[in-house]
C-alpha cells in the first residue's frame, strides 16, 4: 500500500516544530507501524535527510517506551494495542496518517516524536513503592492475600507507564497512571503501612510535575493499552480523602 504521512518534526526542545509530509510506498500490511517508520527512516538517511526520531525498545508492547499520537489517537486506532504492536493492516491504501508526539507540559518534546517522561518516575519516587529493604522480608507465606485482591492488584500493576493516558486526557492529567500504582499497593497487605502517605506524596508529585486535574472524562482508560480501569481513580480518591482527613497521619486506622 501507499501512504501519506504527516509527521511532527522538531529538531530540539527550543525549535517550534511543524508537520512535514512524506510519501511512503510499498508498505506491507504485515509490517508493524514502527517498521513502517523504519522504512521511511532508511530512505531519509539515504536521501541525505534527518531520520525521524521516535522512542521504542521492546516492540512487543510491554516496555512502554513507544508512544505516538496516530490520527489523534494515542497508540493508534486499535484498542488495547501499543504503537509497536499496531500493524499496517489496520490502515488502507492511500490513507493519510498524522503522527504527533504526546502533548503535555509534563512531557516536553526532546526531538520529533520523542518526549521526556521523567515526571512519571518522580511520581513513583514520591511514594509508589513498599519500603522493604533487601533482606528484611518475612517468609513469603506469612501473609496470605485473598485471590480477588491479588488479581485486582495485578490488573492495576499491569500499567506499562507509556503515558498514553496523559496524551489522550483532555486535561493532560496523569491520574490513571498514579491511580494504577496507588490501587495496586493499597489492595495488598504489604502496602498498608504507607497507604496514606503514599497517596498524598504521589498526588503532590503529580500536581507539581504540571499534569492537569482529573475530571473523570474517561479518555485515558479507552486508550490504555493495558486497559487499566477507571475505577482505580475512585480508589485513589477514597484513599486521598481518607489521608487528608487523617491530616497526614501515617498509619491506617490511627
Amino acid at each position: 500500500m501507499n501512504l501519506t504521512l504527516r509527521i511532527w518534526r522538531q529538531s530540539g526542545p527550543q525549535d517550534k516544530g511543524r508537520m512535514v509530509t512524506y510519501k511512503v510506498d510499498d508498505v506491507s500490511p504485515d509490517m508493524s507501524f514502527l517498521e513502517m517508520l523504519d522504512v521511511l527512516n532508511e530512505r531519509l538517511i539515504l536521501a541525505g535527510e534527518e531520520p525521524v526520531a521516535f522512542d521504542h525498545d521492546c516492540r512487543e508492547g510491554i516496555c512502554g517506551m513507544c508512544g505516538l499520537m496516530i490520527n489523534g489517537n494515542a497508540h493508534g486506532p486499535q484498542r488495547g494495542t501499543t504503537a509497536c504492536q499496531l500493524h499496517m493492516r489496520q490502515f488502507s491504501d492511500g490513507d493519510t496518517i498524522d503522527i504527533e508526539p504526546w502533548r503535555a507540559r509534563a512531557f516536553p518534546v526532546i526531538k520529533d516524536l520523542v518526549v521526556d517522561r521523567d515526571a512519571f518516575d518522580r511520581i513513583i519516587a514520591a511514594g509508589g513503592y513498599v519500603t522493604a529493604p533487601t533482606g528484611s522480608a518475612p517468609e513469603a507465606h506469612s501473609t496470605p492475600v485473598a485471590k480477588a485482591n491479588a488479581d485486582a492488584a495485578f490488573e492495576s500493576a499491569a500499567c506499562i507507564g507509556c503515558g498514553a493516558c496523559v496524551a489522550a486526557c483532555p486535561n493532560g492529567s496523569g491520574m490513571l497512571f498514579t491511580a494504577a500504582k496507588v490501587t495496586q499497593l493499597s489492595l495488598l497487605p504489604q502496602g498498608q503501612p504507607e497507604r496514606y502517605t503514599r497517596v498524598i506524596g504521589m498526588v503532590d508529585a503529580h500536581d507539581e510535575a504540571g499534569f492537569g486535574g482529573c475530571t473523570n472524562a474517561g479518555e485515558c482508560t479507552v486508550v490504555c493499552p493495558k486497559g487499566i480501569p477507571l475505577n482505580t481513580i475512585g480508589r485513589l480518591n477514597r484513599d486521598y480523602l481518607a489521608a487528608t482527613r487523617k491530616g497526614g497521619s501515617n498509619t491506617p486506622g490511627s
Binding site: S28, C63, M65, Y129, V130, A137, A140
Partner: protein
C-alpha cells in the same frame, strides 16, 4: 593466520573449599565487611537497570553506598527484563512435590549440559527462596490460590512445580518491584539516576576499574564518571543476530568495551534459541516476538508429511501430518527442552516441509485441545497470547493453527566472573545476563529472572564489600592519562562514525551481519560454515567502516549514531562468537555442532576435552584472541547424556 592462541588457565579463586552447601555461608563469613560510616564515602557505578542492575543499585544504596545508575532507556523501568513472561524458579517446595535446594541445583547443572560451575549454581538455588520473600514484601502481585497462598506451576519440562508467576508478565512485575525500590532510593537522594545515558568506555586506572565514559543521549555530551567500583548489568547480546526476541536497544557495548580493556569474555557461543516465536513475515521484520513456552502444554506441533505441501492446514488430512516431536520423542513429546524443539523445527524446515509464506515455520495446533477442553478453557489459559498472535499475524489461532519458528532469545555467555562476580579487572563486577556464570551451555525456563535477582539483591551486595573494604580508593583525576585516553577514544570513534558518510544505513549492515550469524552460528554450526562466517564478518566490518552513513552530528539526540556504535561492537563480538563456536568441537546445550551428534541426531558432548569454560582475552581488533580455560569439576552432579526420548 591462527584464529586464536592459548594462554594460561584461569581459575576461580574466590569460591571456598568444602561441601557445596556450605560454600556461600563460608564466603559470606570470610568476606571482608565495610563499616556503615565508610560506605557513605564510596561510590559504585551500576550500568543497566534491569532485574540485576535495578536490584543491585537499590540494595547498595540501602546499605549506604552512593550509587550512580545508568540506562539507555528513558526510564529505568523499561529494561528488557520487563518482557520476561513465564516465571521465576525458587526451591520453596510449597507443593510438597519433592523440591529442594539440592534438586534445583541439580536440575540447573544438568539443564546447563554440565558446563556451569557447581558452587555458583548451588548458591543460586540457595538464595532463590529469599528472592520470593523479597518480591512479595515489595508488593509484587504474584498469582495466588484461593486460600491466599502463592500459586506455582511447572515450567520448561521441570518435574516439580517451582515456578512462581504473575500471569504472563512475571518479568514486568519483578522488574517494577526492583524499579520501585530503586526509585525510593532515588527519591531519598542515595542514587543518582542517569536515564538516556549510554556507557561507551570503561576507565581502568592502575589496573582497577574506576569509572566509565558516558554519552548523554539527549545533549550528546560526553562525560567521565568515577567510582570506587563499577558494576555492569547491561544484559545479553542476542541482537548480534539482528532478529531476536531482545529489545531493539539491547547491545553488547558496555561489556564489549570492558572486554577490550582486559575483562575476559566467556563462552560467547552459547546462545539460546527459543522454539516458540512468531515467524519472520518479510524483509522489513525488525524483531521477533516470543509466544510463551506454556503454549506447548496444549498445542501440538506438526508439519505436512510431504514436501512443498501448499494446502491450507485444515485441508491436510490427519494421516498426512507429521507430529514430529511426538514421533521422535514419544516420552516428552511436545514438551522437550527448548534446544531440542528448536533444532527439530529447523530440521523439518530444512527438509522442505516448513509452512507459511517463508516456509520457515511449523504449525502449533490447538484444534485437539479446543475439542477436548472447549474454546472457553483455552481462552482462559491463553487468551492474551492468542490475541497478541492475531494482532501480529492477522490470523485467528482458534481457527487456523499458529505458525511458530525458533528465534534467538538469550545468551548464556558473557563476561567471565569469579564466585564474587568480579571480572578479571579488579573492581569490575558483572551481574545478570551480562556475565557468563550460572546457566552453563543452556538456560532452563524461569531461571533468568532468578539469576538476575539473585545477583542483584543478594550476591553482589555481599561480595562487592570484600573488594570495597580496601577503599575508599584515591580519587581519580580527570587529567589522569588513562581517563584522558578513554575519553578521547570515545570522541574519536564518534567522529570516525560520522565522518564515513557512505552509502549504506547502519540497519542494512546489522541485518546482513545477523543473516551471517543466523546462517552459520545459529541453531546448527559446522566448521566450514563458521570459517566462512568469520571471513564474511571481517569483510563486512571493513565495509562498514568505509560505507556506513550516519546522518547528523554528535550533538543532541541521534539515534543513528547510537545504533552505529552498537553495531560496530557487534561485529567484533560476532567474530569472537564464531571463533569460540569453532574451537568447541562438541555439541552441548545451545551450541550444536553438525560434526558432533549421535547416530540419531542428538547433541554429543565431549567431557574429556571440553569440560571447561572458554574465557577469551582481547588483543586487538582482527588479531587472534587468547583462550584461557577454566576447568570445571563436577563433584555433586555427575555428567550424563541428556535423553528425552
Amino acid at each position: 593466520m591462527d584464529l586464536f592462541t592459548e594462554g594460561d588457565p584461569v581459575a576461580d579463586t574466590k569460591a571456598p573449599e568444602g561441601p557445596v552447601e556450605k560454600r556461600w555461608e563460608t564466603r559470606r563469613f570470610e568476606a571482608k565487611l565495610v563499616n556503615p560510616a565508610n560506605r557513605r564515602k564510596m561510590t559504585v557505578i551500576v550500568v543497566g537497570t534491569g532485574l540485576a542492575g535495578g536490584s543491585a543499585a537499590a540494595t547498595l544504596a540501602e546499605q549506604g553506598y552512593r550509587v550512580k545508575s545508568y540506562c539507555y532507556q528513558d526510564s529505568p523501568r523499561r529494561a528488557h527484563s520487563i518482557a520476561a513472561q513465564g516465571g521465576i524458579n525458587a526451591a520453596k517446595n510449597y507443593r510438597n512435590d519433592g523440591d529442594s535446594v539440592h534438586r534445583l541445583f541439580y536440575d540447573t547443572v544438568k539443564g546447563g549440559d554440565f558446563r556451569s560451575r557447581e558452587s555458583n549454581v548451588h548458591r543460586l538455588a540457595e538464595v532463590s527462596v529469599n528472592i520470593i520473600d523479597q518480591c512479595v514484601a515489595q508488593g509484587v502481585p504474584f498469582a495466588r490460590e484461593y486460600g491466599g497462598l502463592l500459586d506455582t506451576r511447572s515450567f520448561g519440562g521441570a518435574q516439580v512445580q517451582r515456578t512462581f508467576y504473575a500471569r504472563g508478565q512475571t518479568g514486568q512485575q519483578l522488574l517494577l518491584g526492583a524499579y520501585q525500590a530503586l526509585e525510593r532510593q532515588i527519591g531519598l537522594g542515595n542514587v543518582e539516576m542517569n536515564a538516556r545515558h549510554e556507557m561507551l568506555e570503561l576507565i581502568v586506572v592502575d589496573g582497577k576499574a574506576r569509572g566509565i565514559v558516558v554519552r548523554d543521549m539527549v545533549t550528546g555530551e560526553i562525560t567521565t564518571e568515577f567510582a570506587d567500583a563499577v558494576v555492569l548489568a547491561s544484559g545479553g547480546y542476542g541482537n548480534v543476530f539482528y532478529l531476536s526476541t531482545n529489545a531493539k536497544g539491547c547491545n553488547v557495548t558496555a561489556t564489549w568495551r570492558a572486554h577490550r580493556k582486559g575483562a575476559y569474555f566467556a563462552n560467547p557461543c552459547y546462545t539460546q534459541i527459543h522454539p516458540t516465536c512468531i515467524p519472520v513475515s518479510g524483509d522489513h521484520q525488525s524483531k521477533l516476538t516470543l509466544m510463551s513456552e506454556s503454549l506447548r502444554n496444549d498445542g501440538r506441533v506438526w508439519v505436512p508429511k510431504a514436501k512443498g505441501d501448499d494446502r491450507a492446514p485444515r485441508d491436510i488430512p490427519e494421516d498426512e501430518r507429521d507430529y514430529y516431536l511426538e514421533r521422535i520423542y514419544p516420552s516428552f513429546g511436545n514438551l522437550v527442552p527448548r534446544d531440542i524443539a528448536s533444532r527439530a523445527a529447523k530440521n523439518v524446515c530444512d527438509e522442505g516441509r516448513g509452512v507459511g509464506p517463508s516456509k520457515l515455520g511449523v504449525y502449533l495446533d490447538f484444534a485437539d485441545a479446543i475439542d477436548r477442553l472447549g474454546r472457553q478453557a483455552i481462552e482462559a489459559k491463553y487468551g492474551n497470547l492468542f490475541e497478541m498472535y492475531e494482532r501480529i499475524t492477522g490470523e485467528d489461532p482458534y481457527e487456523v493453527p499458529m505458525r511458530i519458528y525458533p528465534a534467538v532469545h538469550y545468551t548464556m555467555g558473557g563476561l567471565w566472573v569469579d564466585y564474587d562476580l568480579q571480572s578479571t579487572i579488579p573492581g569490575l563486577f558483572v551481574i545478570g545476563e551480562a556475565n557468563f556464570s550460572d546457566h552453563g551451555a543452556n538456560r532452563l525456563g524461569a531461571s533468568a529472572l532468578m539469576q538476575g535477582l539473585a545477583d542483584g539483591y543478594f550476591v553482589l551486595p555481599t561480595t562487592i564489600a570484600n573488594y570495597l573494604a580496601a577503599g575508599p580508593f584515591e580519587p581519580v583525576q580527570a587529567s589522569h592519562p588513562a581517563v584522558v585516553e578513554a575519553r578521547r577514544d570515545v570522541e574519536d570513534r564518534i567522529q570516525r562514525l560520522l565522518a564515513v558518510d557512505g552509502d549504506r544505513t547502519v540497519d542494512s549492515f546489522h541485518r546482513e551481519l545477523g543473516q551471517i550469524m543466523w546462517e552459520h552460528c545459529g541453531m546448527e554450526r559446522s566448521e566450514a560454515g563458521l570459517r566462512k562466517a568469520i571471513d564474511e564478518i571481517r569483510a563486512l566490518r571493513e565495509q562498514f567502516w568505509q560505507r556506513v552513513r550516519v546522518p547528523g552530528d554528535g550533538e543532541g539526540l541521534n539515534q543513528s549514531l547510537e545504533k552505529a556504535g552498537r553495531v560496530a561492537d557487534f561485529f567484533e563480538l560476532a567474530e569472537l562468537m564464531c571463533i569460540d563456536a569453532l574451537h568447541r568441537e562438541e555439541s552441548c546445550g545451545g551450541h550444536f555442532r553438525a560434526e558432533h551428534q549421535t547416530a540419531d541426531g542428538e547433541a554429543q558432548r565431549d567431557d574429556d576435552r571440553f569440560a571447561y569454560v572458554a574465557a577469551w582475552e582481547f588483543t586487538a581488533t582482527g588479531e587472534p584472541a587468547v583462550l584461557h580455560k577454566e576447568d570445571l569439576k563436577f563433584e555433586y552432579v555427575h555428567p550424563t547424556q541428556r535423553s528425552y526420548k
